[in-house]
């Protein structure tokens, strides 16, 4: 089927998925580009595939496909360079099945940081991520792009972090918050228990004081010059050191 107008009702619906509230209501979101679409197809979350008119595709996808004229495709895309493929995806039902290595994110707001952290968490074999309600939406286009597809493979769940910390502690998980405190133990000196949950905080203000108080341990990264690190960097260094296997 071909679509040649941005006034088309389907296009109008898809356009809304640039906004969180419509992604939440319909439980759908958009992804752009070949690599992400290939990753999404592996986990079967593609609902509709949109192809730029005149472009071939080789995805082996047998669901609904629409061919969009250039100006419709360009209107729908958030990418700076022109993309030939967009997919409308259904949100996955995530479940965290193992508590060996967990990441807890407290108010991480920058989409690039969020996406990069998800990518690293997958690389270092973490079992899942719990997000506080005030984190950036993981279905934001910039987040998805920065994950490079890792969000399809790693369970990520929004929750009340304060309650989650208590629940994990009751289940025998050691909760470790990161902060540049005097009393914090160095990452290199920390021996992780069998099950740990690492808390990383907001770009400006770090982990909330109430969460630091609840944590079993507070940890910091050794540095030559004690400036703060970017949160995606700090999270990835910790996950590298505490990785599985």
């Amino acid at each position: 089927m071909e679509i040649n107008s941005v006034q088309n009702s389907k296009v109008k619906t898809w356009m809304k998925y640039h906004q969180k509230k419509y992604r939440d209501t319909d439980e759908k979101y958009l992804i752009e580009g070949e690599h992400l679409i290939e990753e999404a197809l592996k986990v079967n979350v593609v609902d509709v595939l949109l192809v730029r008119k005149g472009k071939e595709h080789n995805f082996g996808y047998h669901g609904d496909i629409y061919v969009l004229e250039d100006h419709v495709m360009d209107k729908l895309s958030k990418n700076v360079s022109s993309v030939n493929y967009i997919a409308v995806c259904k949100k996955q039902i995530y479940e965290i099945k193992d508590n060996t290595r967990l990441l807890l994110l407290d108010a991480v707001q920058d989409p690039g940081n969020m996406g990069t952290i998800i990518r690293s968490a997958h690389s270092f074999g973490f079992d899942g991520i719990y997000l506080s309600e005030d984190c950036v939406d993981i279905y934001n286009e910039k987040v998805i792009r920065s994950t490079q597809g890792a969000l399809f493979h790693l369970p990520i769940i929004n929750c009340d972090l304060q309650m989650k910390v208590e629940e994990l502690q009751k289940g025998g998980v050691e909760v470790v918050a990161t902060a540049l405190n005097e009393e914090a133990v160095y990452l290199g000196d920390y021996t992780p228990k069998a099950s740990i949950a690492l808390i990383m905080g907001n770009e400006g203000s770090g982990v909330k004081e109430s969460l630091i108080k609840k944590a079993d341990k507070v940890m910091k990264i050794e540095m030559a010059n004690f400036e703060s690190l970017n949160v995606a960097i700090a999270a990835s260094i910790c996950m590298y050191e505490l990785r599985k296997g």
Copy 2:
């Protein structure tokens, strides 16, 4: 002095510093926001300070100060949220004085990655960074913002990387390239020599094959799932492990 028009000749000159070619010609660039300006003042690179009309400032700066009306300030700023202070800075003359820990960047193009790498390199006590000519300009606004001011404290020099590698090797520096090769040694198994130079590559294509061939060692980061990492993450993990002190 007050400026109330974007047609003012000084404003026109400053506007040009959003483009690399004019930054190169005049050896000047713009920075925005209190934190960066405070860091720039420490190393004495501020040439002119621009203040939004009606805003106080407490920088203790005694050079040229201009007060800009709102619409002039907003026109000059690249920031999404409105800033009250902009500084026109002079490029520093950088000199790398020690060869103990060097970072070599081959065609790193994303401004956020470049800035974050510079920030981490400073945190982990690296002595300086050599950039290939096809890296993103470090005086790009997004790079500067992501460095959080680290570029004022760490020497960064553009050069021919192929020649620089040979020169460093002649001087007894071990050159270590990063790549996801079969033969690459794991970061955790690598014992750095007294002087090392770490090469990180382009976001899409990694370190150029010609540089990998020249390197004394090839190294990779241990992962549970062998996906590629974001280059700023990979660089920072390596620099953390190989940090001074």
